[in-house]
Amino acid sequence: MHVLVVEDDRETAQFLQKALKESGHAADLAEDGETGQALAEQGAYDVLIVDRMLPRLDGLSMIRELRGKGVRTPVLILSALGEVDDRVKGLRAGGDDYLTKPYAYSELLARVEALARRAVPEEQETRYVVDGLVLDRLSHRVTRDGEPIQLQPREYRLLEYLMKHAGQVVTRTMLLEHVWDYHFDPQTNVIDVHVSRLRAKIDKNFEKPLLHTVRGAGYTIRDGAA
């Protein structure tokens, strides 16, 4: 995956570049909005990571101009401003996801990988399959090894989101945002409880676990050991 990091703080930018490289991704750096825009226009990037506060051209204006020129590369906005209205402004400007500083790198990586996946047309996918677990998006039916599994509507949406990102790490915050559409920091382990309920339904009576906990990051659904 090829990522462009537009961030004026050199230390942060280099930290991201190094960390992304370690995760197996290539990252270019731009220190201001104009350079970032120029690079994004010519380069074939999978994801842009854009800081909101940038010299020369601020992050939101840069995204707006890129979108105006037909550049559809997914954008993750980084910002020190984290409230609901800032998020809404960021997404309206054409951003695809929004992350508040300071953030955990695992959170950023999970979101960047999810964004890269989004760029691949997958809306036509009507079935998600992980090993023997099948989720049929048309009939809303879930089976494992052919046996039907009864899920509550919210459990279905949770599983759907996890399976859409099969093989990728999905953080608790991402689940809260995409499955429940909430943007707050819970003080309790609310997501864990829901995931463990789902796990009880899809993994309990089967030999091979599919839903794994990734320590310090979140969850992933995949065929194979953690």
Binding site: F184, T188, N189
Partner: protein, 467 residues
């Protein structure tokens, strides 16, 4: 020394100056009126006298024309003896006195044609001279006749009047000045009381207040307003002090833990110990970040920064959805979460913030319902929503240990954590955020006794457009 100084201070006050100017203006007008009165009285009296004299002169002239000199002499003599205020002097051409009660010809009148004022001594024994008015009368034959009138009574009356007037003016002046000094000293005393209070407040006694006399005058209004201002300042200051004390505590504790975790990791050897130490360090840093984020959010809400982001939404549904999210959490901890909320009631507001406020209330209920002192029959959390034309009231009730009535106001403040819960994880900002969200929407938070337990009511008014 003290008195002149105090007098000087009284004199230099605004109220004394106002009093002095008032008295002076009043005096000037009073003096003018008195002078005008005296002058007018004099003029009227004098013209009356002159009219009488003219009449008398006419009569005497008639007598002289009819009866000659002897008749005139007789008439003058008769009138002279009558004992009235009339004064007469008749002399022949050579200047010898023929009749009359004046001892000599008043020189002031002799030369004048229209008469005038003169002084004479009515009797030899008395040295006091009387004032009189007289006119010369032309009776022909070279004779000189003076007809006059003693006006001494009138003069005395006028002079007494004048004395009374001036005395009155004197009293007025004195009274005015005394009143001015007194008023200004009262004013000074009230102002001084305010000054004394202000000085002692500046010296650090923030609880000091200005005395209110109860006269409900403008000084009382001023004192009441100043006291209200001081009250607000003191509340803000103590709030600030509380916040900074609590920031010091609540941020220092996780910072210390963070430092300890890092230090402990350094002392260890082996990769897994390092890894564990670092993970622990990051966990502590995340706690700090959470606290900072909450603090910033509360501060921005209190500044009204997010007001523009309102939408119309089904608040019943929003509350039910979020309760549904927490139902398994409560269940896992052996609590019952009872939600009796119907969809339908609509509200204009920031849905994310209102949901977050409800989440804070539910998380608090879950956190504290399991505490010792909680109902032995099993922890129970009840969420209800009351919809009225004016407001939507979301209530989250538990049967935990509750909060003592005297602490209920306090726990809404930033970073305030009751002693019992200080060791619990949490930022101390949960209820402050609920309060800030309520205020942003023009609503309020009420903490009530659930008997047993705590019932927190988030009351959000519907705006005019909602009804």
């Amino acid at each position: 020394m003290a008195l002149p100084e105090r007098l000087l201070r009284a004199i230099s006050t605004t109220s004394f100056r106002v009093a002095a100017i008032t008295v002076a203006t009043y005096l000037a007008f009073a003096g003018l009126i008195v002078g005008l009165l005296l002058w007018q009285t004099n003029r009227v009296l004098t013209s009356q006298v002159l009219t009488t004299l003219d009449g008398e002169a006419q009569q005497l002239k008639t007598e002289a024309q009819a009866g000659g000199i002897s008749a005139l002499v007789r008439a003058v003599e008769t009138r002279s003896r009558s004992g009235g205020a009339g004064l007469y002097y008749l002399a022949d051409g050579a200047g010898a006195k023929l009749a009359g009660n004046l001892s000599r010809l008043p020189p002031e009148i002799v030369g004048s044609s229209s008469g005038g004022v003169f002084r004479y001594a009515p009797d030899i024994a008395s040295a006091r001279e009387h004032l009189a008015v007289a006119i010369p009368v032309d009776v022909g034959g070279g004779m000189q006749l003076i007809v006059g009138r003693d006006v001494d009574d009138q003069r005395r009356f006028a002079s007494e009047m004048g004395t009374v007037y001036f005395l009155a003016l004197g009293f007025l002046t004195l009274g005015g000045l005394v009143a001015g000094v007194a008023i200004s000293r009262v004013a000074l005393r009230r102002i001084e009381a305010i000054n004394v209070a202000a000085r002692s407040i500046m010296a650090g006694d923030m609880s000091r207040r200005i005395a209110v006399s109860g006269n409900s005058d403008e000084y009382d209004a001023l004192a009441t307003n100043l006291n209200a201002m001081l009250e607000r300042i003191e509340a803000l200051m103590s709030g600030l002090r509380e916040v900074s004390d609590n920031i010091a505590h609540d941020l220092k504790t996780p910072l210390t833990r963070l430092r300890n975790a890092a230090e402990a990791a350094l002392r260890e050897t082996g990769e897994s110990a390092y890894r564990e130490g670092l993970e622990h360090t990051i966990e502590k840093a995340d706690e700090l970040i959470k606290t900072f984020n909450s603090l910033l959010l509360v501060a921005r809400l209190e500044a009204g920064a997010l007001e523009g982001n309102a939408e119309r939404f089904d608040v019943g549904r929003a509350v039910r959805d979020v309760a549904e999210l927490y139902e398994p959490v409560a269940e896992e901890r052996g609590m019952q979460l009872d939600v009796s909320v119907a969809s339908g009631p609509e509200l204009v507001g920031n849905q994310q913030l209102i949901v977050q406020a409800v989440v804070n209330l539910i998380e608090n209920a879950i956190k504290y319902s399991g505490k010792p002192g909680a109902n032995s029959g099993g922890a129970m959390i009840t969420i209800t929503l009351e919809d009225s034309p004016e407001a939507v009231e979301i209530a989250v009730a538990d049967n935990g240990p509750g909060i003592a009535p005297e602490d209920r106001e306090r726990v809404l403040k930033r970073f305030v954590r009751l002693e019992k819960s200080r060791t619990e994880p949490g930022t101390g900002l949960g209820l402050s955020l609920v309060q800030a969200v309520a205020r942003l929407h023009g609503g309020a938070v009420r903490l009530e006794d659930n008997e047993p337990g705590l019932r927190v009511v988030l009351s959000l008014p519907k705006r005019a457009g909602d009804r």
